[in-house]
Amino acid sequence: MRVSWNWLSEWVDLSGFKNPNELADLLIRRGLEVEQVERLDRGLEKVVTARILSRSPHPQADRLSVCSVDCGSSDPLQIVCGAQNMKGGDVVALAQVGAHLPNDAKIGESKIRGVVSHGMLCSEAELKLKEESEGILILPSETPVGLPLAAVLGKDDLIFHLKVTANRGDCLSHLGIAREVAAALGLTLKKAQPSPLCEGECPIAIHLEAGELSPQFYGVWIEGVSVGPSPAELVRKLEVLGLRSINNVVDLSNWVMMELGHPVHAYDGNQILGKTVSVRKGREGEVLPLLDHKTIQLSGHELVVADGERVIGLAGVMGGGNSEVQATTKNLFLECAEFHPSWVRQSSGRYQRKTDASHRFERGIDPTDLGRVVSCFAQEVVRLAGGRIVGLKSVRAPSRSQFQRPAIRFGLHDVHDFLGFPRDQSPLLLSELEAIWKRLDCQVLKQGDHWEVRPPSYRWDLNLMEDLAEEIARTVGYDLIPATIPTLSSSPVSAISSIPQLILQDRAKDSLVRQGFHESLNYAFTSLGSLESLGLTSTVRLMNPLSEEYEWMVPSLLPGLIRNALTNWNHHFGSESLPIRLFELRPVFAAGASGAVASSQTETGVQEAWKLAIVMSGPRFAGGLRGDFAPVEFADLKGVVEALLRDLGTRGVRFLPFSASRTGGNPLFHPGKSAEVLAGNTVAGHFGLLHPARARDLKTRDDLWLVELDWTQLLKLSRGAFQVPSYKAWPEFPGMERDFALVVKEEISVDKICQVALKAGRPLIKGAKVFDIYRGAQVAEGMTSIAVRVIFYDETRSLQESEAEAASIKLLEAWKQEIGAELRG
């Protein structure tokens, strides 16, 4: 909301402020955020009114004149001017030496074609009063000379742009802000609030048919007005607040709103059919042409003002076009009413009309001064538009006769205890509390060990001791509140602590960072197209997305990370391939069986599953020589996963080739170069190469390796992370090792060889590892040569050669039996 310094000065003495920023600071300290203090006279500081005494041609230039001007003070000044529209005796705008005009021109003493000019006569364009203008600005001849031009134009004002919070509807007028300033400074308001007209003859019957949704309505009938343009002063007053002038009656309704905070409305009296006005709920099928020339269909869920035959206004939001005040209007019916905040809000939302009126009704108006407000409106109308006030009529629900806010009762020291001030001591004495509340128009009673405080009718936000404590805090200043550290009254462990989950998240992230990965964060929504291009789909859609690009909740973190990889490739140049190492740990979203519908206060119908995803590509090392830049392979990816699982203390996870998968894998992955991760019999993720079809569509530059793990499954299997490891001794007696070169069928997976060794070689064989795999010319078609190293030892003694020999023979037998492995000849 905009507040004018001059307008505010009509209400409260602002002379105590040394500069406008002091007032801004005061408002900020009281919780009224000042976004901007706008000086309307910016650029006009050294521009004054002046009278041209004489004009004569420039001796050296036909197009120029030399004027002698009187600007009130010293001797006449000589000014060179290029305009032709002025003559001796005209009052003009003189930019004095030192002026820095709104169009950024700096005025200095200059010599123009040999003649000295002590300033410049300005055009409206130069003063930015208009976009374009011809000649210089000629002011009315009665304008006094030597005044600041800003004052003459009504621009000697400051506009405060306030951001009034939703709880302070009472601050949406100059009266409201004046009350705040007066309370802060201990001043009284300069202007008395207008006195109400007496009830009298009014030809319109008023009916309140919506009960408490509209508990009161005041109307005034005026006859014989002349609707026309507003006087310049009123136009200016509204203009600086951002309100466009319409005509004198409408402008006055806006003026009343900005002055007193009540939205009021004027109807063309002759357009009120049936001589009745009623407030009621709309009826389905009814139509209402609005003031903005659009017609709405009513739903039955809004409050309307109707005459005897039709709807003539959307109550609290906007008047009807069918009863609009026009140039020809002779009789007026003025309205000042109260409408229920949430009903106004609903109408304003449903019909997409956020108006100054709805803004104020939503926040609550003062229910006690409607009579005064409508009377003030009527008197001003008669003053500017003529006519005769015929009479005022009001209808009120019982709740609005003798209205007052309920009193708030609380302990004498509650406010001190709550804010953390020492009881009844400096800087906050009990007497100070009382004084502050009284300055805020509260009625204060001190009864024994209790306060009983009744807030003023316009302060809907004051309901509890805490609200009144805030009034104290913002008046004495939040900066006076002491700083203390709260005591821990019990163990800091919360009943629903997420610390264990965070510990594992940190472990996983730290593990991956150690392994060279950067953590990425992507939006949780994306476009359907980008998902479909990867063979994915989403089941959760935003009802009001920002754009198609952010419409569907992600079912996987990989689309985001793949997009990140493409982004990084796009800006990469040079012959080396780009090392890409990214991961993300976040939830993905899926709709439950009955969709994203709240089924209780806490159930959303949306399943959130945390995932850990990784993308990897490019050289194995970040630095080194050519050999170190070999691209990462499946083994590197598997190494990352295994190191991660080790760091998490995850146990009981198996890797399965896609060919053995019962779920058939995942469309993002190359079926032959990927693994399925199993936790028990549950699929807990996948890792492997991006599917070649996807890679082709996306035009990836290098092989892109992917991992996506089900974080919830991993958590279940990562109890090891919280176990304290016990010391284990290593074998005291040396072991032996034997290397074997085996030839097996290609389809035998290499870890099968180790499994057989460990099983068949019990108890002496303690380890087996494959250290070379060869396929090619040296072995038969369809066969693989595998080199495996087997470790033998006994914890209790040194082994004999012969024992290892015997175990080896047994092992070879087992390999042959179980997987058809032969020693390579």
């Binding site: 805490e466 805030e470 203390t484 550290i485 964060l521 859609r541 982004t567």
Partner: protein, 342 residues
């Protein structure tokens, strides 16, 4: 015999002295002391000598043998020393050649910032609670005192996923979930992603918040002040000041906007400061005393004498200030040129 012995020995010593390699030295050792070596052969001949001559010659031979062995050993040591020196002369790496470097990874600044906050607040006794990002409209709004038709709804532009289901606009729903799940005292931090329909250089449709909630008997507003001052000084430096300005958030009363003195201007106040735009203050978080309505919604009894404070801060905002990041969108692009810097 003795002459022969001296001749062999003398010659051997000379040869040893002259030998220039370990191999030739070894050769000498074999020729003299090996099974078929000249000295060994000579000693074999001792048996044919008279008992008088035998000990004399035996002693002499042994003495020569010792001398030769000593010489061999000495020469070997000397030669080895020379060889080592030669090896050291020869062997050299260009230590300026590029290192083989494991890729350096990095945590996202959001994660780093959240961790710092948890670390700081954690010292005061806050626990941490996570909650869902898809939240019921009830917990996101109604339960934290923002009824359906309240103008405060305008403060947050909300994404809807379905009837009564929103992407949470703040993590306050987690606070309510925590209060519903346990009795007082409640002391928790709720970090996490939140969503609002807004997108430009300073607004992201998804961003992160960290909210704190402390509920117990007789919690005072001065406690909020003290906790935030402690936090600000831990994060921005010991001479940091905070400034509370009255404001309005429906879930607190009184409410406050909290500014922190500019950590860059502190030393030298500058009108051109890029961080605070010359104001000396950074608008950083919202806070206040928990509105009694929330206790009602959580089913806490009024008679318990409970009060509490809550605060909420934007993680990205703080990360951007600390690291002087000019555009919020950089945080969500997965650009490794950005991610790798922190």
């Amino acid at each position: 015999m003795l002459e022969k012995l001296s001749a062999i020995g003398g010659q051997a010593l000379e040869e040893i002295e002259r030998s220039s390699s370990l191999e030739s030295l070894d050769q000498i050792r074999v020729t003299l002391l090996g099974k078929k070596g000249s000295l060994s052969e000579l000693l074999k001949g001792l048996s044919g000598l008279s008992p008088q001559e035998r000990p004399v010659l035996g002693a002499a031979a042994n003495e020569w043998k010792k001398k030769i062995e000593l010489a061999l050993e000495g020469r070997k040591t000397a030669l080895e020393k020379v060889l080592l020196e030669q090896q050291l002369q020869r062997e050299k790496l260009d230590i300026s050649a590029p290192a083989r470097i494991v890729h350096p990874g990095s945590l996202h600044v959001v994660t780093q910032t959240v961790r710092r906050m948890i670390q700081i607040f954690g010292r005061l006794g806050f626990d941490v609670t996570l909650g869902p990002e898809a939240e019921t409209e009830y917990l996101n709004f109604e339960a934290v005192n923002i009824p359906a038709d309240h103008p405060a709804r305008d403060m947050q532009d909300t994404f809807f996923l379905g009837p009564g289901v929103v992407l949470r606009t703040h993590t306050s729903g987690v606070q309510m979930r925590s209060m519903l799940a346990q009795k007082s005292p409640v002391r928790i931090l709720c970090p996490g992603a939140v969503y609002r329909c807004d997108h430009d250089a300073t607004h992201s449709p998804m961003f992160h918040q960290l909210e704190g909630l402390w509920v117990d008997r007789n919690v005072r507003m001065s406690d909020l002040n003290g906790v935030l001052l402690f936090w600000a000084r831990e994060l921005f430096g010991a001479d940091t000041q905070i400034r509370l300005r009255p404001s309005y958030f429906p879930f607190v009363e009184p409410g406050a906007e909290v500014d922190v003195s500019c950590f860059r201007c502190r030393v030298k106040r500058s009108e051109q400061c890029r961080i605070c735009k010359g104001t000396g203050w950074l608008e950083i978080l919202g806070a206040g005393m928990v509105h009694p309505r929330l206790f009602e919604m959580a089913g806490y009894s009024r008679s318990e004498g409970l009060s509490g404070f809550a605060f909420g801060l934007g993680v990205e905002r703080i990360a951007m200030l600390l690291h002087e990041i000019p555009d919020l969108r950089l945080l969500f692009q997965g650009d490794m040129r950005f991610l790798g810097q922190f």
